[in-house]
Symmetry: C2
Subunit: 355 residues, 2 copies
Amino acid sequence: MDTIVSERSLRALTERLFEREGFSGADACVIADVLMLADLFGIESHGAQRMMYYHQNIASGSVNTQAQIETVRETPVSALLDAHFAMGQLAGVHAMRLAMRKAKQSGIGMVCVRNSSHYGIAGYYTLMAAKEGLCAFSMTNTGPIMTPTFGREMMLGTNPIAFCMPADPYPFWFDASTTVVTLGKVEVHAKREKPMPEGWTIDADGVLCTDAQRMNSSILAGGMGGILPLGGAGETRGGHKGYGLAIMVEALTGVLAQGLLSPEMQGAHGDHTSHFFLAFDPAIFGDADAIRAQMSRYLRMLRESEKLPGENRIYTPGEKAFESMRRRMETGIPVEEKTMKELRRIAAELGVEAI
Amino acid sequence: MDTIVSERSLRALTERLFEREGFSGADACVIADVLMLADLFGIESHGAQRMMYYHQNIASGSVNTQAQIETVRETPVSALLDAHFAMGQLAGVHAMRLAMRKAKQSGIGMVCVRNSSHYGIAGYYTLMAAKEGLCAFSMTNTGPIMTPTFGREMMLGTNPIAFCMPADPYPFWFDASTTVVTLGKVEVHAKREKPMPEGWTIDADGVLCTDAQRMNSSILAGGMGGILPLGGAGETRGGHKGYGLAIMVEALTGVLAQGLLSPEMQGAHGDHTSHFFLAFDPAIFGDADAIRAQMSRYLRMLRESEKLPGENRIYTPGEKAFESMRRRMETGIPVEEKTMKELRRIAAELGVEAI
């Protein structure tokens, strides 16, 4: 049974927990805001549910609460940052703010970060930019979970691509892993003891596998087999495209930031992650309002185009998230029992009053 | 039966044909070079095979051989160009050169083009940049061939994403449509009267369809149904991700360049296309040689990782293309009978000696 918690209480609890973990009040607010957006957007896998994971990383010292983010190189349009194992959210917000400042001053800002950690939803950062009228990309590498086309060893991360562009009534907000599904979806099926649809994973022998519990354990243990690239197994339905997109993300993150590569990281979520941020001002190409109106018009055309029989809606990326946010701000956020227990346990440990 | 033609003869013929079409010698060389790379890379759908298509576009006036590419807006890091219906290859090379110049001077160059036409393989332009040590993106919208997730009306183009980064022994060269397959693959199956694998297209009723001839005619006629986004039908295997990537490409091309949107174009290949180019110098992030070595090392790790049973090779994007080029430079390019006939017909029409 899910507990319904108001956005306000969940945010307040998350902020207090991060403060007690050793972050400054300001930093705790930043981290909590990234998690809250995931919960509001309906992407629970990246919301308060991740608290235990962060708690353990802080306890083990793989995240440094006092890290100072260092600017290694800088030009008017770019920067390379070393996060020195800061929380990914702090590194991400710092880096995107810098990219946005450069975009406002020079038209474009490109910022790479190395030695960061799990930064939550990639799309949080692109939305920061869109709120100020900018277009933006955000990408990250992660620990290895994806097998290459024709391979059975996990060599690539979830490697999401997020892109956001101002539009009405909502920005065009795209945030997707380059795998068929994220590890979170495999975990959910494993937890519910349900088989997965075919085409998500291959096992150690390279055979398509729908056994979520077996695959979840095997992936977490770093065994052979893993999640397939977007497009699936082989090349028939474009699996090599998802595989290629994932390498592209690694090229722009781990390689360009000169950090660790996905297969060099420990664990499925990965430490020492690298991120890539690109922000640009559409006004360098024309009237920003006209471009925004054109984008809004295209999204409307898509939504109003001919539906499949039996379908009553065509979504454009971000719609579901923004609608979920509006609903959950009013009626609260459903939190899974396991997550509630974990939050209470961490709260007790840190001497914080739980919900 | 394919005719084997040497690279030199096919290039010479293509150049002569474009000269007789009304282009300057220099422009004819540029256009021919883009087509030749496709033929050498084994992407015949975008090589000499397209000559008839271009010939017809020039004859109908939808391509202007004398077009002057106009710079509409410019900053040190960006430009918006209006191609005034130039051949896409001329617009593409002009735009990427400009982006590269800006990347060398300012670190990054982003160039959008509107009112262009079919520009061949998106990856031609990214390779121009990689040859000079730069990383680059190239994207284009096209006439509508893709149906949205839950939709049955073609609202999005092939919308490829190309990205290239210097590496050894070959650059990392990624060039892929955001559809499951390109229209060219449907055409090939139709021509050979072979059924397509399931999961490529849906028909007018929204049902998965493997009848290549029916789908090819329907798509060319602009009927309902079309090619599915990368990830396939619905959301189960990530079809919404391919759909979202395609919208992202339209956002960066038709929207940002303030040109026509895919569904506003006539025909499956589309006229009035818009392109997006982004080049940047990896040296703004660190030692370019070290970054190149890191990229090469990762690609090698992928190739050397554990293969599926029965597979003896894992490819990295670009390998097949560069190996094909090496082979075809030595032994010649196989040209289909239909294409040979078309080339001879155009040659006769233009008074050029054919092969």
